[in-house]
Point group: C2
Chain length 359, copies 2
């Protein structure tokens, strides 16, 4: 191994010369080169399941923007699919489970998959990605949180109201806990496999934690993520520490609780008051975030102003990875992403240089 | 005037013998008697604009459940319509402004309406409602917050991504501030008219404040609501104080800021930690909320448990109005609403009796 990569240093709260940056959903429909591969793949799921194509789209934003980290191209819903649920992605509608889970006996339809067999295509992709990536760019693996996966499995797809999972939560919490427990076990197997095959960091996406109040968030989402964090391998095959990032969207006010999970990094969305949260949590964890993605619709001077604000809000202590507060959107302009990445480099170098002189 | 109503006492943080209760969207599609009137009206907008029908549906939940407060039946989007924007409600799609606002010159299409003329149907409805309501049941008037109205006027309807208003916020904040200022002025006129015609309390609905980070929330939403609160008549024609309730969904963590607006009551959604927020804010304001509406899908024992938790979380100081953390949904069972209201009466009477003995 050469020098420790910038991103992994920041995750470990070691000093860096500039703030590392990656962007949630950095591979995707806003990139013309992605759309080409997507068409070639035929379907979105086929793109996820073909290691050569998944590798190509994972590398595209690295090549184009020189980002500091790659995240494997995949989808969180491959886990429920591996557990036996039929998954479709319908054009314009998003993911659909035609036979959602609604009560305890539906759990009989689920299996605990042998991840090497059922999700081997992800592991093959990770190995291809690692081989293709420059060694200075580490690779992030990921999974959905049990709560977030359960929302899709119970609702049957994307929802605004969460009627079925909320009904389960209040009417039949045992069913929900059984499902969440089964998901946590499978996610542990799945992520440990990712680490074995070369993922150098892990992010857990809890897209829907924010629809829960503080107590239910802890009982139905955070406790299961904590179980996952505690059961992940601490180091990869190369002996390096594999940091874990938790991203619970809309849950900034639960950060103190989230830090107790044992995660290395808390990823904040754009509504979070980073300054306040860092002050509360001190040096317990590193942070990732949290530029409002909509800043990418703005002209250069606004992007610069907002980048400066974001960098300053995280303060001058080590342990910040720059990211958006949510994912890239298809209508965003790749040229603005280029600009954003350059501005982050410039501004964070200046800021960190100034700060080191002050000390 | 007879004795001060329970709801108005709670708004003024005066002691009550039981916690008053009403439910956001208490008149609506979950009630068969509403559906009948809705059909009779032909269109949703026609229902809003026909005082006799609006009065009928306002009274339905009062008659059926004996709730402690009525809220006038109307829609927040009658304000942009009165300002000159063509509004349609499409079946299954919700509200649509076919010609949304996108830049400064689009503001030329807006007028500052003479509210007595353009929104006189609302005032006529308020007078009919007051005449029909028992005197122990006060009537709440309402308006959307400037920020929330602007999202619909700029996006053109319901959205998940808020692309256009966010683009305006970062690219052309002057345009946005001009629009928000114009909306605040009209809302002030509109609400003062409601007070003149008999509204005994005012609620401002800020459904989309939660998509903003703390600084932008203050600059683009709270500041305009504060302007409204400061410019409302403090008392109605009967000389009674007219309390103002602010409801910014997803903004519980901004409660300290919200209290500086001068509002009398902060309405909290179900994700709020009421105990913590009341502890932080002490006796500055009263609170409304915040049962998860999905509890209405649960059986009686769960409803009772969750009502107890909610009552306890607001503590034993005066100044709590029981409500849901968000609105009723069309698939909810009216029998469970009846049960909920009875349970709140019982449990809050017990709790308040126990507490008064302790003192």
């Amino acid at each position: 191994m050469g020098q420790k990569q910038l991103f992994l240093k920041a995750c470990a709260r070691e000093p860096v010369e500039r703030t590392p940056v990656w962007l949630m959903r950095q591979a995707g429909r806003y990139l013309p080169e992605y759309l080409k591969v997507r068409q070639q793949a035929g379907s979105f799921l086929n793109l996820c399941k073909t290691p050569a194509l998944a590798t190509e789209v994972t590398l595209q934003p690295i090549r184009r923007f020189g980002l500091d980290v790659a995240i494997m191209f995949s989808d969180i819903l491959v886990v429920p699919e591996a557990m036996g649920m039929k998954l479709d992605f319908l054009e314009g509608e998003g993911p659909v489970f035609a036979e959602p889970l609604r009560e305890s006996r539906d759990l009989n339809r689920l299996i605990r998959p042998k991840v090497e067999k059922k999700l081997g295509y992800v592991y093959n992709a990770i190995e291809e990605m690692r081989a293709a990536l420059p060694s200075k760019v580490p690779l992030i693996g990921f999974a959905g949180s049990p709560w977030t996966l359960a929302t899709y499995m119970i609702e049957g797809g994307t929802t605004k109201k969460f009627t079925h999972i909320k009904t389960a939560l209040y009417r039949d919490p045992d069913f929900l806990h059984m499902l969440l427990g089964a998901l946590a076990d499978t996610v542990i197997d799945y992520l440990n496999g990712q680490i074995d095959h070369g993922a150098q960091a892990i992010q857990i996406f809890d897209t829907w934690g924010g629809i829960l109040g503080p107590k239910n968030y802890r009982a139905f989402s955070l406790d299961y993520m904590t179980k996952i964090v505690r059961n992940l391998k601490k180091t990869g095959p190369d002996g390096e520490r594999v940091p874990v990032i938790l991203f619970s969207k809309g849950c900034a006010s639960y950060s103190k609780d989230i830090a107790t999970s044992g995660c290395d990094v808390i990823s904040l969305d754009w509504t979070a008051d980073a300054k306040k949260i860092r002050r509360q949590l001190g040096d317990k964890v590193a942070f990732q975030g949290n530029l409002d993605p909509a800043v990418l619709y703005a002209p250069e001077e606004v992007i610069r102003k907002e980048v400066r604000k974001t960098l300053k809000s995280f303060g001058n202590k080590p342990g910040h990875i720059f990211n958006l507060g949510h994912g890239m959107e298809p209508d965003m302009n790749p040229d603005n992403v280029q600009l954003l990445v350059e501005i982050i480099r410039e501004e964070s170098s200046h800021l960190l240089k100034r700060n080191s002189k002050k000390r």
